[in-house]
């Protein structure tokens, strides 16, 4: 099994940390993992993306141009990465702020209203965990118990009290993910 994922959105949306939690969870599950961020002068508001690879084998290139899954969190990223999803692959996005929706017919497209749901939960910071939950519902490549371990490892100890809220958000994401188009 090899899963090649791009997660892309605005800086500050938790793109990099979602990737980190996913990578850590893969590590807890005994998989080979790589996490390759775009890095730039932007801190908040600029575009940010990260390539995460989970595999049963040694990972060759951490830099790739085609992905099994694209998790898209803003319009610029959708425009940039829609065509980078392998045929038959998965595109998951949050429609909030999206005016031009995905067009491709040869990939599976799902949406998750994570921004809206996070606002409803009164915890905008768990937005990325709702998205992660939606992804794991579609591709359960790591077990929830390993996600919990991944959260414990990747979050600083002072944030460990927030783990139950994060897990709740992941479960919420699993519940609210919707089909847009399937091959």
């Amino acid at each position: 099994m090899t899963e090649e994922i791009i997660i892309a959105g605005f800086g500050g949306q938790g793109v990099l940390s979602m990737g980190k939690i996913l990578a850590y969870s893969g590590l807890m599950q005994g998989q080979e993992v790589s996490w390759m961020p775009s890095y730039g002068p932007e801190m908040r508001g600029g575009t940010a993306n990260v390539t995460v690879i989970l595999s049963d084998e040694r990972i060759s290139s951490p830099v790739i141009s085609q992905f099994d899954t694209a998790i898209i969190l803003n319009q610029q990223s959708l425009d940039k990465f829609e065509n980078s999803v392998k045929p038959g692959g998965l595109l998951l996005y949050d429609p909030n702020g999206i005016s031009r929706h995905p067009q491709r017919k040869d990939i599976n497209i799902y949406k998750v209203e994570a921004t809206t749901e996070a606002a409803k939960m009164g915890a905008t910071k768990v937005f990325n965990m709702i998205v992660l939950g939606a992804y794991l519902k579609l591709k359960p490549i790591v077990k929830l118990e390993n996600i919990e371990k991944g959260l414990t490892e990747s979050l600083p100890a002072r944030h460990h009290k927030l783990i139950p809220l994060n897990l709740e958000a992941i479960k919420k994401g699993m519940e609210i993910v919707e089909i847009v188009h399937v091959v």
Partner: protein, 360 residues
């Protein structure tokens, strides 16, 4: 039990420095390697092992602090990225001339000038052919994974002290910024001052009664003696060239075409090789691990076997000169590179191989 961690390359390098028993890190922040000092400062190595961490006023300050500590027989290191490494060249030349051991990490970014903060391999010439003034060489290690960012720290110190020569790790923004699984090795102890005195008879530790004073200098105004000093350096480099060559080959046994790449490029090439082989093209990969000394002999050997070589670098063509030297123009050797922070995909590399080598 194995201690596994998910770490950025820069963080793995920093943790490795602590665990290798380093005595002192001196540095100045620059993207994309600032995590090194951030990690060290957060980890408080002065509490863990007694290791010193100091943020200097400039890269000039940093490399000269490394010089001072190295001259005391201490395990000193620094890290920077391309523009900062340029600023360090003066000190590196002095360290090489004075024959001091130290470790220098360059997490390369694109240039020239302020260039970009994105990954590049355009400092190959600077690292492998000297860099500063005078006839000298650095031992250059090219990590291509986060694990090697960790492992090459203790290897680097070992080589540095074995040859009394500065060692450079030539990494780049990809390897420095990415996270991978790292297996951490156990904590090595720092040497005591008494051990340093016994092991390193050249180190300035304070003149002992009845013993000769120790002087660390690269100055020798008498041409005859300066030539002798240079010949001694050259003799050392020849020894390094015969004993310290390191490389990795993948699928070279039956290869008809060869990719040669180091560091992050080698990772991309590995995937390109897999893609090619799935299409029935017999591609092999040779990855130099030491860029100086360069593995000329394996290039020579493989150039008798394969039909063509594609050298893939994140620069305009630097290592290709060494590959051509090794191949003695026996076969076609072409370069494929992106620069300015652009990174080719494995598909791009395979396309270049098909177009420039196989079809060309």
């Amino acid at each position: 039990m194995k201690e596994l961690r998910l770490m950025k390359g820069n963080e793995a390098f920093a943790e490795a420095a602590i665990r290798a028993g380093a005595d002192a890190y001196f540095g100045y922040p620059i993207t994309p390697q600032s995590e090194v000092m951030e990690y060290l400062m957060a980890e408080k190595p002065y509490e863990r092992t007694g290791m010193i961490v100091l943020q200097s006023e400039s890269e000039l300050g940093a490399i000269n602090m490394v010089y001072g500590a190295a001259a005391c027989g201490k395990r000193a290191l620094t890290s920077s990225s391309s523009p900062g490494i340029s600023l360090m060249q003066e000190g590196i030349s002095y360290i090489a001339g004075s024959e001091l051991p130290c470790l220098i990490m360059n997490v390369v970014r694109g240039g020239p000038g302020l260039g970009t903060i994105q990954p590049s391999q355009s400092d190959y010439f600077q690292a492998t052919k000297g860099g500063g003034h005078g006839d000298y060489r650095l031992i250059v290690l090219a990590p291509s994974s986060v694990q090697e960012m960790f492992d090459f720290v203790s290897l680097g110190f070992e080589l540095a002290f074995k040859y009394r020569n500065p060692v450079m790790m030539l990494s780049d923004g990809v390897i420095g910024q990415m996270m991978e699984k790292v297996e951490l090795s156990e904590q090595q102890g720092r040497l005591t001052n008494q051990q340093i005195d016994e092991l390193y008879p050249w180190a300035t530790t304070g003149k002992k009664p009845g013993k000769e004073r120790r002087i660390i200098t690269s100055l020798e105004l008498d041409p005859g003696r300066q030539e002798k000093h240079n010949l001694k350096l050259q003799e050392k480099y020849r020894k390094i060239e015969t004993t310290e060559v390191r490389y990795e080959t993948l699928h070279c046994d039956d290869a008809e075409y060869l990719l040669v790449a180091f560091g992050s490029s080698a990772r991309i090439c590995q995937k390109a090789m897999d893609l090619g082989r799935s299409k029935g093209i017999k591609i092999g990969l040779m990855r130099p691990i030491t860029l100086y000394p360069f593995p000329y002999s394996i290039i020579e050997q493989l150039s008798k076997q394969v039909k063509g070589i594609l050298v893939v670098e994140l620069n305009a063509g630097q290592m290709i000169e060494d590959v051509r030297l090794g191949s003695h123009d026996r076969i076609k050797v072409e370069h494929y590179g992106r620069f300015g922070g652009m990174i080719p995909s494995p598909v791009d590399v395979l396309y270049a191989m098909e177009k420039q080598i196989i079809g060309g």
